[in-house]
């Protein structure tokens, strides 16, 4: 526009460039998430996890639409302790007469939100502290690792109970307390990974150019540990959901919210077992199981996809020379169905771990990184490898 002159124009271009940067970052994050989902979808276990998570998220978001009754609405309560029927798919609770099926759907809200939000907070805290400890080292490392030592010693559940007793049981407090005491494991993992990356050539190069520590941590170290971060976040979220269920089972969760742990506790204390109401115990338990199971599947699938030990290494081929036919056959027979013997060729990779050698099937997971070996023990590389070499 012509009316914008001088300073205003400069200001506008500045704002535009900042907006552009933010937009690009957002796009990158979305792209990363999308590629992450695509990777997971190719993996059998990851796909199972993704489907269940999608289902649970759908239930949590559209709970008022899916659920036939609103468990928070006192007027929608039916007779107490009904058996399953078409009106109440899983019966009603013994103490209050709430519809158990609706409670099951609404319970996904508290479990998923606490699990995911705490997982994210832990991811931020753990990666920040882990990277700081691993990359900066020195006294920063010492202090952070001492804090980790201290927090690992104090028993977590009693500490969380004391904190909720002192600070109250709102969602914010529960998330904060779990995050404050749950970041230690992640920080340890990230720290050890960072200590490996720290000596990589590209980091050394960046240091030589004169890049600042913050820049290196943000642009080089963080992307290098991001996959590990996603994986551990899925696993910690699963752990937090179990802990939250345990806490609300003890009656120390948010007393106003409908949650699976509280449903279990109510069922037990009101004598559901005595009356033989197995559905009122099984339903919330299966809810907890599905949520934890799906997050664990995603985490473990990520671990298998990302495992650096799965990648091609120079020691791989050498090891094969020592192996005889019989052993190879034994190994192939025991591998998952993802790697079948293809004529005379079989795909698999060997890696050397500190504990010993391990043979891994990678036909299913990383097709471009496999090494083809004849049963005779002669190694022949794939075409892609030849081109890249």
């Amino acid at each position: 526009m012509k009316t914008i002159q001088g300073q205003d124009q400069e200001f506008a271009t500045k704002i535009l460039s900042v907006l552009k940067k933010i937009g690009i970052t957002c796009l990158r994050i979305l792209e990363g998430i999308w590629s992450f989902i695509k990777k997971l979808w190719k993996h059998k276990q990851g796909r199972v996890g993704l489907i269940i998570v999608a289902l649970l998220v759908f239930c949590a978001v559209f709970a008022p639409i899916i659920a036939p009754y609103n468990p928070y609405d006192v007027t929608q309560r039916a007779e107490k302790g009904l058996s399953p029927s078409w009106d109440h798919l899983l019966g009603t609770s013994i103490t209050t007469g709430q519809d158990i099926f609706s409670m099951l759907i609404y319970g996904a809200r508290s479990s998923l939100s606490i699990g995911l939000i705490t997982g994210l907070v832990i991811a931020v805290l753990g990666s920040l502290l882990g990277i700081a400890a691993g990359y900066i080292g020195g006294w920063v490392d010492t202090i952070i690792m001492r804090i980790v030592d201290i927090l690992l010693v104090i028993p977590t559940l009693p500490l969380v109970i004391v904190m909720t007793n002192v600070l109250g049981t709102s969602y914010a407090v529960i998330v904060l307390v779990f995050a404050a005491f749950g970041w230690t494991g992640l920080a340890r993992v990230i720290r050890s990974q960072v200590m490996l990356i720290k000596n990589a050539n590209y980091v050394k190069a960046a240091e030589l150019i004169g890049a600042s520590k913050w820049y290196i941590m943000w642009r080089h170290i963080l992307p290098a540990v991001s996959n590990l971060l996603i994986m551990s976040t899925a696993l910690t979220s699963a752990g937090i959901m179990v802990a939250e269920a345990g806490l609300s089972f003890l009656g120390l969760g948010n007393p106003e919210a409908v949650s699976w742990g509280k449903m279990l506790a109510d069922a037990q204390s009101s004598g559901a077992m005595l009356f033989g109401h197995w559905w009122s115990i099984l339903a919330p338990g299966i809810g907890i199981f599905l949520a934890v199971f799906s997050f664990m599947r995603i985490g473990l699938a990520m671990e298998e996809i990302l495992n650096p030990r799965m990648r091609k290494g120079s020691s791989m081929v050498k090891v094969f020379k020592h192996l005889n036919n019989k052993y190879l056959e034994e190994v192939f027979a025991s591998m998952d169905d993802g790697s079948k013997l293809k004529g005379e060729y079989a795909t698999c990779s060997i890696n050397e771990t500190p504990e010993g050698r391990e043979m891994l099937a990678c036909g299913e997971y990383a097709p471009s990184e496999e090494v083809a070996v004849t049963a005779n023990g002669e190694e022949s590389k794939r075409k892609e490898d030849d081109e890249s070499a």
């Binding site: 028993p155 009693p158 279990l264 037990q268 005595l274 907890i288």
Partner: protein, 333 residues
């Protein structure tokens, strides 16, 4: 193992213990209520203000809550140094250390038995799965571990107490409290304890067996690729000799690590299970203390649990370096 390292490690443990005590002292103190106003909420008729204040101060002195917070902290540390954890708010004001001593054996019955069962069965199952790699035994273990890792132990406990306790009436679903009060070391008393402990132990052990089995399996498979196993086979040793004499022995280290980690959680790991079965252990003690706002007792239990974990960690470290001569603690490679 160098002596200087051992000394350094012990000093560090003491330092961490000091910090933990400080945390355990100050965290509950945020919500602590004045015991004087709790026991003497109102001035009775005909009592002068001076007498009332004096009575309140007496109560505060009795509970160690007189003076500023810092003075209380120093006093608490001094008491702790003598092994005194203060007195509980419970009726009769028993000593905290006595409460713990009363409940500790019952928790240990559960957790030690659970740990031993998990360890022994887990190693047997894991070795079998590794040996029958790819066959149904291995697949069964893998499937079991995908399920049990996602099942919280308290849900397993509820299902077991529902099916075995209420439907089949094989085991008691609630602990008989006479077991605790009338315990003498007769065979009958011991068998009653085992009968009552069966369900809680079993519901904890399911997950434990599978996780020990899985790590044994992985470790055994990693070791069985080594050349000395090939040598052992080539020498013509029997399968059993190869498995138990050569493979398993070298595959034990990761299991020792896991065992050490589990030992540090022996006391605080069964809170929810104890609640479900109404078991008279440390978890129940802690929950009761929590619902009564019994801060000295809560602080005492947490400090005790942390001290136990610290000592367990220290010992595991030392035992580990004794077991594996390759692990050299505190020496630079």
């Amino acid at each position: 193992m160098k002596t200087s390292y051992v000394i350094k490690r012990i000093l560090l443990t003491i330092f961490i213990f000091f910090i933990v005590v400080t945390l355990c002292f100050f965290i509950p103190r945020i919500g602590v209520t004045d015991p004087a106003s709790r026991y003497y909420p109102a001035q009775s008729a005909g009592m002068t203000d001076e007498v009332y204040e004096e009575i309140k101060e007496d109560i505060r002195i009795q509970y160690g809550l007189n003076g500023t917070t810092f003075e209380q902290y120093v006093r608490y540390l001094k008491q702790l140094f003598k092994g005194d954890l203060g007195i509980s708010y419970q009726s009769g004001n028993p000593k905290v250390i006595d409460c713990i001593a009363e409940c500790l054996p019952w928790t240990l019955v559960l957790s030690v038995t659970n740990l031993l069962i998990s360890l022994i069965l887990g190693i047997i199952i894991g070795t079998m799965a590794a040996w029958k790699r790819g066959r149904w035994q291995d697949k069964a273990l893998l499937n079991a571990s995908t399920v049990t890792t996602a099942l919280p132990s308290f849900f397993i406990a509820l299902l077991l107490s529902f099916y075995l306790g209420f439907e089949l009436e094989l085991f008691p679903a609630y602990t008989d409290q006479n077991m605790v009060t009338g315990f003498d070391w007769s065979w009958q008393a011991i068998s009653t304890v085992m009968y009552n402990a069966a369900l809680p132990i079993f519901s904890m052990a399911i997950g434990g067996i599978v996780s020990y089995g899985q790590s044994t399996r992985n470790s055994v498979i990693a070791v069985s690729g080594d050349e000395f196993i090939l040598t052992a086979k080539a020498k013509g040793l029997s399968n059993n000799r190869v498995i138990y004499g050569h493979t398993l022995r070298n595959a034990m280290l990761p299991i020792v690590t896991q065992f050490g980690m589990n030992i540090s959680g022996l006391i605080g790991g069964a809170v929810v299970i104890e609640k479900i079965f109404n078991w008279n252990g440390m978890g129940t003690l802690f929950l009761t203390a929590n619902s009564n706002n019994d801060y000295p007792l809560m602080m005492g239990i947490m400090i005790f649990m942390s001290a136990f974990a610290l000592v367990a960690n220290l010992l595991t470290d030392f035992v580990y370096s004794l077991l594996d001569p390759r692990v050299t603690l505190g020496e630079k490679r």
